[in-house]
């Protein structure tokens, strides 16, 4: 998700699991299912819309689960468990302040524009609203970021397999790339989405027992609270026991000294700018909702996803906290800041120490599945943007539909090969990859500013679209560099929060300024793209009228929001 992922793991052997034949059998069964889904989904493809958007016919619960599952990659699982081990409960903000409100906003406010305007990708919306300038900036940066992140996923998969099973990296690299490639070229987005839904249940089948057994061993929630210890770094306490057991004001997470600024940083930086930017404009996510079978289903996908999303941290962050309270190596790392392991190992150490052979196989299958699903999500979003937004719009226009399916399949193969190369670069220059990933994270904040302004302000001009986007992104990069060279000094996640906020504000200011001196698009061209010019029927769902509340987006979102507020209050 929007964490800064470091690609470092413990030295070899510390994490080595002794898999038996039964564990391998369970992993093998999973692979059979994954490839089988590719073959089944193949029979459903006859148009490019089938290949790239599943023919817009999936039910809301499927697209909803795929929506979170595409994001529940192993990067997120290991990264959030690491945060749980290091700063404790304030990590919950990534879910309760970050993801959930943004997902509800996407479903309630923004989805009608995406689904109603019949665009096939987020960059395509950009083109319809602002023309080719903003479109090219968006499409190219998105496509680049996806190939890069797919490579990082692949590299981490190889690293984890190497650490857990002792296989050489290049074997897992190639096996994983070939598997992902086969099912996406066969089944397109449907295969990716069905596999994401399947992966969701397999990873839960490993994470839920892990959490329950872990909690039993440490003496329940109260036992865990008693065992949490201060996090030390260079002889200083960076997260006290109290900080780790409360979510607010979250100074250990934000790195701000002042509690007031910490709350503002988390709510505005993490919550509003970073998360809204990520969840509402990232095509990897939005594509899943676009694949659903009606406007009502498209709007409900992210809202349905919000329910599991608010409870998933309990089986990711809590195991991280248990690891930090009960595993010797982790305790040493927390008290002295040194040792053979890193925080990223928290989840893997839990798997190693808790699960017996058998469940171990389920856990390895789940982890491998989540890496592959992450990579598949990046590649399936990449091939859509590449085929529709770059190839069809600018390179080879007006060919029959079957031609673009072929382009999509070739783009998939090319992306998988590129991902292998990116993974090799990541292996050599892991710091470089971390920087790039952080930078790509910043692209979403100005994108969100441009979208939200463009959707509600019909005067906003095409020039303002791309100028705002570019200047917003540059200001994020500028703040990030200031943080790197030490002009801004915030120990936690503060720098990304500030960078994203700066990008958002600069984007808005520049867009407004440029708009005042350029000519807007004719109002007639803005129907479906701008709120005031869109017929009201688009926002009302005829097919959900008179149905129960859980079939209607807005009441469902209200329930989700209430639950999130309750969670925030209970764990403050």
């Amino acid at each position: 998700m929007i964490t800064t992922t470091t690609t470092t793991l413990a030295a070899e052997n510390v994490l080595r699991l002794n898999l038996g034949w039964l564990d391998y059998m369970l992993v093998a069964i999973y692979f059979v299912f994954v490839l089988g889904i590719g073959f089944i989904a193949r029979s459903q493809i006859s148009t490019s819309l089938d290949f790239f958007l599943s023919g817009r016919r999936l039910p809301a619960w499927v697209t909803g689960l795929a929506f979170i599952s595409a994001n529940l990659g192993a990067i997120e699982i290991m990264g959030m468990a690491a945060n749980g081990a290091e700063v404790g409960l304030s990590t919950m903000h990534y879910y309760w302040i970050g993801a959930v409100p943004a997902m509800l906003f996407l479903g309630v406010v923004m989805m009608p524009f995406y689904y109603g305007s019949k665009v096939r990708s987020v960059p395509e919306f950009m083109r319809r609203r602002f023309g080719p300038g903003a479109h090219l900036v968006n499409a190219i940066s998105f496509a680049l970021a996806q190939v890069l992140i797919a490579g990082v996923n692949l590299f981490l998969l190889a690293t984890v397999i190497n650490a857990l099973l002792g296989w050489p990296r290049w074997i897992s690299l190639i096996v994983a790339a070939v598997v992902v490639l086969s099912y996406i070229t066969l089944g397109g987005l449907s295969a990716a989405i069905y596999n994401e839904v399947l992966q969701f249940f397999v990873i839960l089948a490993a994470l839920v027992p892990l959490t329950v057994f872990g909690l039993i061993r440490v003496g329940g929630w109260n036992g865990l609270k008693d065992k949490v210890i201060d996090t030390m770094s260079d002889g200083k306490v960076t997260a006290s026991t109290h900080d780790q057991l409360t979510t607010w004001p979250g100074q250990a997470l934000s790195g701000f000294d002042s509690p007031v600024w910490s709350v503002i940083g988390i709510v505005f930086g993490l919550g509003f700018v970073l998360s809204f930017g990520y969840w509402t404009t990232n095509f990897v996510e939005v594509q899943r909702a676009m694949a659903s079978n009606s406007m009502s289903a498209a709007r409900r996908s992210p809202i349905i996803a919000a329910f599991p999303k608010m409870f998933i941290p309990f089986v990711i962050i809590v195991p991280g906290m248990i690891a930090a309270a009960a595993i010797g190596d982790m305790i040493r790392l927390k008290t002295s800041g040194e040792g053979d392991i890193t925080y990223n190992d928290a989840m893997l150490l839990m798997v190693r120490d808790i699960l017996p052979n058998g469940l171990l196989g389920v856990a390895v299958a789940g982890l491998v599945a989540s890496f592959m699903a992450g990579m598949a999500a990046n590649i399936s979003a990449f091939n859509t943007v590449f085929s529709y937004d770059i190839w069809q719009d600018y390179v080879v226009k007006d060919r029959p539909d079957s031609y673009y399916i072929m382009v999509g399949r070739i783009a998939t193969v090319a992306a998988a090969i590129l991902a292998i190369f990116t993974a090799l670069i990541a292996a050599g220059y892991s710091n470089l990859m971390d920087y790039l990933q952080t930078l790509f994270g910043f692209f979403n904040a100005p994108l969100f500013a441009t979208f939200i302004l463009g959707m509600f302000w019909k005067r906003m001009t095409s020039t303002a679209g791309w100028v705002g986007l570019v200047s917003g992104t540059l200001s994020a990069v500028f703040v990030f560099i200031l943080g790197e060279v030490g002009v801004i000094n915030l120990p936690g996640q503060g720098v990304p929060f500030v960078a994203a906020s700066a990008a958002f504000v600069v984007d808005i200011v520049v867009s407004v300024a440029v708009t005042t001196v350029t000519t807007p698009k004719p109002v007639a061209e803005l129907a479906g793209l701008v709120y005031s010019e869109t017929p009201r029927e688009v926002f009302q769902d005829p097919d959900s009228a008179g149905k129960a509340w859980y079939y209607r987006p807005v009441p469902l979102a209200a329930v989700a929001l209430t639950l999130t507020i309750i969670l925030n209050v209970v764990f403050h």
Binding site: N18, G20, L22, M25, L26, I29, Y30, F33, G36, I37, I40, T47, L49, G55, R56, R57, V62, K118, V119, R120, E124, R128, Y194, V197, L198, F201, V202, A205, P209, F213, G214, R217, V218, K227, N293, I322, A325, A326, I327, G328, D329, I331, M350, D353, I354, L355, P356, N357, G358, L359, V362
Partner: protein, 93 residues
């Protein structure tokens, strides 16, 4: 025929099948620990012993079978309606 196939390959049945297989395998493994080799725990410096024996396998196994049955029941009670008319394709811009 087409509807039979699409019923069989309903994603709910696919999820149910995978979880059922996992459930059965884990349950057998839990009740017949002789099938598995005992994991050598190695030297552990954990202040709390976290490891669970093979009993954990059948607890989770039975739970997974339960979840799988729920998926089969859902797919059986609310079958997908196969629409004969293809959904209208959006007009290309």
């Amino acid at each position: 025929m087409a509807s039979k196939l699409s019923h069989l390959f309903d994603i709910r049945n696919v999820i149910g099948a995978l979880l059922a297989i996992y459930g059965v395998v884990l349950t057998i493994a839990g009740f017949a620990p002789g099938l598995l080799r005992e994991r050598d725990k190695g030297a552990s410096n954990n202040p709390v012993d976290l490891s669970f024996g093979t009993d954990a396998n059948w607890w989770v196994g039975l739970a997974l079978i339960g979840v799988a049955v729920a998926f089969f029941a859902w797919a059986w009670l609310r079958p997908v309606r196969v629409e004969e008319t293809p959904p209208t394709t959006p007009a290309s811009p």
